[in-house]
Amino acid sequence: MEHIGIEPGRLHLSWISSAEANRFTEAVREVTSAVKAAGPNKTLVKTRAGIA
């Protein structure tokens, strides 16, 4: 995905069971701060068609 221009830090993949509450909260905190650091997204943004 980096190849097509998604910044490193924007996309994360985790595999966490619903029984692993701590790992889940850790992952959420980590992803939230990493994505915030990447700033507003500029690619693959769907824009709404202008309504006349």
């Binding site: 097509i4 221009g5 690619t43 824009t47 068609a49």
Partner: protein, 311 residues
């Protein structure tokens, strides 16, 4: 390569007459220059319609999936690897096929040739390594090597990997080919540049799906773009939707794509979608040592976890 025609017709006639196959899938001449059409020949008397030249870039393995008949199929190196892929994925049985193997030296890039001329091209003829393009008031001879399809220029599997009968002696494989030069050029771009590059590359797309329809890998009964509950991706020409379609289709072909170039050849706008599908081929090769469709006895890398895998 032009001499192959006689052999293709002879083999096809024999296969049909002797009932070895119910039909032969090959090419016949199209109605416009540089466009040969796939055809199904069921009658031994019709094999004279079959042609072979440097405009046979479409992948005939595209027409095999799900068929129940006994089929003779004309296959270049790349096509044969897609046939192996179909066998691996259980879309056709080896016993159903009589593979007419064609050692290939490359197909010509119809988009590039059209863009070289202002006037309409009326005829494209071939003579050994020369392509003669003519129209109203002009005629020019091009070197075939200068107008090869992008994928053919870097091909390292010109000879069929699986076949029942070859139409000619195998050709020499190209050596010391750097298949990933273009990929590395993009890898060297900073993120912002890449975003703009890919947006520009794909912006002409009109979502006609010619690429998908020409691709042997794309045989899903309901393609993800046609799914409406839920709708994964919009049907229109919004940039985000276009990019989602193309990149996701490329991902679905990861480790399966043989770089046959049929997608680029079929595209009415000449979009170079191999620019990103090659990245996936590079990753599969570098991470797993995997090249698609080389042997029906090999299973794809992600199918099983070998005991040596460290996770």
């Amino acid at each position: 390569m032009l001499g192959y025609v006689k052999k293709i017709r002879e083999i096809s006639e024999r296969l049909l007459k002797e009932g070895i196959v119910d039909m032969v899938i090959g090419f016949h001449a199209g109605t416009v220059p540089m466009m040969n059409e796939p055809c199904l020949v069921k009658n031994p008397g019709e094999t004279d319609n079959l042609v072979w030249d440097s405009n046979c870039g479409i992948n005939l393995a595209n027409y095999l999936t799900g068929r129940k008949e006994k089929i003779g199929i004309v296959a270049k190196g790349c096509d044969s690897r897609n046939i192996v892929n179909h066998i691996t994925e259980n879309k056709i049985k080896r016993e159903q096929l009589f593979i007419i193997g064609v050692p290939c030296k490359g197909m010509i890039d119809r988009h590039r040739i059209v863009s070289m001329f202002d006037k309409e091209i009326e005829k494209v003829a071939e003579q050994e390594e020369k392509i003669i393009v003519s129209g109203e008031g002009f005629e020019e001879t091009l070197k075939k090597a200068a107008v090869l399809q992008d994928n053919c220029a870097i091909c390292i599997h010109r000879n069929p990997v699986i076949y029942d009968e070859l139409v000619a002696d195998p050709v020499e494989e190209q050596k010391d080919v750097d298949r990933y030069e273009d990929v590395r050029r993009i890898e060297a771009m900073p993120t912002e540049t890449r975003q703009r590059f890919f947006e520009g590359l794909l912006s002409p797309c009109i979502r006609c799906y010619a690429c998908r329809d020409a691709c042997p890998l794309c045989y899903c009964p309901t393609c993800f773009v046609d799914e409406s509950r839920p709708q994964w991706v919009g049907k229109g020409i919004d940039t985000a939707d276009i990019m989602t379609f193309h990149f996701l289709r490329a991902f679905h072909g990861a480790g399966r794509c043989t770089d046959c170039g049929a997608c680029e050849r079929a595209c009415p706008l000449g979009i170079k979608m191999r620019t990103f599908s090659m990245k996936l081929e590079k990753d599969c090769f570098e991470m797993y040592g995997w090249e698609a469709g080389l042997s029906p006895d090999e299973r794809p890398p992600l199918e099983t976890i070998p005991r040596t895998d460290k996770g």
